[in-house]
Amino acid sequence: MPSATTSLPLASLVDAGTIAARNSSRWRPGLAAAGKPALHSEVFASPNEAAGAGAALALALDDWRNLPRGEGRAGGRGDTHAGTHGEPDARPILWVQTRDAARLSGRPYRAGLPKEMRDRLIHVLADTAQGALFALEEGVRCRDIAWVMGEIAGNPKALDFTASRRLTLASEKYGVPLFLVRLDAARDLSSARMRWDVSSAASDAPRWNAQAPGTPVWRAELFRARGHAPGEWLLHEQGGALKARRERQADNDTGALNWTAGLQRRRLSQQA
């Protein structure tokens, strides 16, 4: 009804804008708190930088931190292990690498890992892609694992659509998130719920030494996702949480602006 729309003051319009942004289908950090997080993600990256593994870890940590824990909530795996007893979720993390991936992009180094997962890492080195896929599936089926990281180089024949569908189904059945880093791979057919393309981006200068590299920043393009519109963000971690921003400042609150602009336009047209 036109009267309802015209009587809205401008302040409530802005509020409505933020509400709309919250409910929009855009991906943003901390989405795990609202609903079910995507359990099977693929991250495409170059083997000559650690951006893929870094961003995958950051995304996994973001989901893990924001997973609602506590009684009265079903769904996520975290709640049966932690929260109900008030103790932190200290389940280990499985990191599976093929030998090729380990040779190309190195093995995880304990002292460089995020603090909360240093003593929780279990590393699996598989000779072949088949072995790695087996390890990924076993990891996803295990209730005592917080999440599974995988690193597979190239496009091996074993990792076809059937294999990725198998992983998706297993991860959704058992509720263990899977982040598969694809090094040096073409964007082949896959049933992953979110597919990212990640590369490094220039970091912000640290406050006390402007010449030094700062906290890592990744340019992440979400090129295919179920339930989310594609988009591109610059990701970085700040104060123990994942932050995403648009490369152009104008894009940062596009959703809200469009929505409010549309409303205003409508109001103007109705006034006219």
Partner: protein, 522 residues
């Protein structure tokens, strides 16, 4: 269960049993059992060495003819041409000695092997059960005589003293007090020292144990400096002998590995039947282990075929378990390459390594709520499929060198306690297995790198932090190892790396320094 002899003074009683002709006696027992002819003339047991057969043991007649242990057979043949030979069996001797050690527990609560040919039994406060220590020794003598084993025995307050008396003292000696005077006359060889140390002592003119005490401790302490190795230090051995310092001994404890087996009426040749039998064996094993409150860490499945072949499959679990379904699943992956031939007639499952595993209440609710597998099960499956080395976890190690500062350990082992590290410097997320050499362009030899080439690509250095100087570990490495200056860098496209320069120009350890890329930062 290590025995600390000596710290209780004279209250402790140790029985030493020495079998002087152990190898020959055992050879006789084995030959007699096999129906062979025993030695009537000189006989030696030989071992093959790179320089020909060498004598390991000789019987009385051969000894009389001049054959000695350690002599080459050819030398003995020149002394006594009609000498007969048989091959020695050190592994069999050791197994036999182990059985004897277990059997010797009838005279005391614990016994230890004194390789290669002796036993030590703790007979503290048990002699009255046999009617005194003399009667105890008599019982021991009769027990070994029944098995045609020659022995010499002694009882003393410490293991060292009992050993010395059994080897060099009066037969059947029982020493209670005045240990030092009783042992003063024995030769220094009674101190269980290495042959080179004995040679040194002989050259010094110290022939009896009593001589050692006369020249003073300080002189000997200066002469024999190895404090950790008792065989090389007469003072340490003397103190052990007199009970001034404890001497830990490793007792022999008999253990029965839980075992289940199935003899089959009809040899099986098909996989489905084999799986069924393995299933039954695993069920039996689970019951057996449950009754003992144990869980298996290592399982061995032996398959005996009709034509005499035996196939053995081994499993090692990351945590103690007795879940039959889990065991069957793990074995199923290992049975694919079994060749049945004419059929398998006997299967045997043995848990050669077990750990205590308490009975636990089955939780049906939790099972339905969280349907996944447990961590130990997951790791077992990965290990069986991918190999024992494939699954590991990084643990810190006390070292400055970055690649040494992390070690890979089995995943479910407890993390060793380590000192906390002060983190002044950031470390890369990933580390290459071997640092890769890069070609670096820099303004001055000791300055910041400006541009480098790695894996065919050129990287312009945009930001840099460093150097972080890591010196070689001089206590471990050779003197020519060069130091490393690490730089954390970011290139023009934001890629972050950890590179180092090995050495500095003009450090006198080689030519111009090389640059390497070791880590990839997130």
């Amino acid at each position: 269960m290590s025995a600390r002899s000596g710290d209780l003074g004279s209250s402790r009683r140790i029985l030493a049993i020495w079998l002087p002709a152990f190898a020959i006696d055992r050879w006789r027992i084995v030959t007699q059992k096999a129906g062979g002819t025993l030695d009537s003339g000189p006989l030696v047991l030989i071992a093959d060495t790179a320089h020909g057969p060498r004598i390991e043991a000789a019987n009385r007649l051969a000894m009389d003819a001049g054959a000695r242990r350690g002599m080459m057979l050819a030398d003995a043949r020149t002394l006594c041409p009609e000498i007969a030979t048989a091959s020695s069996d050190p592994a069999g001797d050791l197994a036999f000695l182990e059985r004897l050690a277990v059997r010797a527990q009838r005279w005391g609560p614990w016994s230890a092997m004194d390789e290669p040919d002796g036993l030590l039994v703790d007979v503290t406060a048990v002699a009255h059960l046999f009617g005194g220590e003399d009667a105890l020794l008599e019982d021991v003598r009769a027990g070994f005589a029944r098995r045609d084993l020659a022995i010499r025995t002694a009882i003393a307050p410490t293991a060292g003293a009992a050993w010395a008396l059994a080897h060099f003292g009066r037969a059947g000696a029982i020493v209670d007090r005045e240990l030092e005077q009783m042992l003063a006359d024995l030769p220094v060889a009674a101190l269980r020292l290495g042959s080179d140390v004995l040679t040194v002592l002989r050259r010094l003119g110290l022939k009896r144990i009593g001589d050692i005490t006369t020249i003073g401790r300080d002189a000997l302490q200066r002469r024999f400096r190895k404090r950790k190795v008792p065989e090389a230090n007469p003072l340490l051995r003397l103190d052990q002998l007199l009970g001034r310092i404890p001497e830990p001994l490793l007792p022999v404890i008999e253990q029965h590995a839980p075992l289940t087996q199935r003899r089959l009426m009809e040899p099986i040749r098909h996989r489905t039947l084999l799986d069924q039998v393995v299933n039954d064996l695993a069920d039996d094993m689970a019951q057996l282990l449950e009754s003992k409150g144990l869980g298996a860490r290592r399982l061995e499945l032996g398959l005996w075929r009709v034509d005499g072949e035996v196939a053995v499959r081994r499993l090692e679990m990351s945590a103690a378990t007795r879940d039959p379904a889990h065991i069957c699943r793990l074995f199923a992956a290992r049975l694919d390459d079994i060749e049945a031939g004419f059929g398998i007639e006997l299967l045997r499952l043995r848990a050669s390594w077990t750990e205590p595993l308490a009975l636990a209440q089955g939780d049906i609710e939790a099972q339905t709520e969280s349907p996944g597998t447990s961590l130990a099960t997951c790791i077992d499956r990965l290990t069986v499929r991918l190999g024992p080395k494939a699954v590991s976890r990084p643990v810190p190690f006390a070292s400055h060198i970055p690649e040494r500062a992390q070690r890979w350990k089995p995943p479910l082992e407890r993390e060793p306690p380590t000192q906390g590290v002060l983190e002044f410097h950031a470390r890369p997320l990933k580390m290459l297995d071997t640092p890769e050499r890069i070609a670096v362009l820099y303004a001055s030899p000791d300055g910041y790198p400006q541009r480098f080439r790695w894996r065919g690509g050129v990287h312009e250095v945009a930001r840099v932090e460093g150097p972080e100087r890591i010196a070689p570990e001089w206590w471990r490495e050779r003197g020519s190892v060069r130091l490393r200056d690490y730089y954390r860098i970011e290139d023009e496209r934001g890629r972050r790396y950890w590179i180092y320069r090995q050495g500095i120009a003009g450090d006198g350890r080689g030519g111009p320094p090389d640059w390497f890329l070791q880590g990839l930062c997130a």
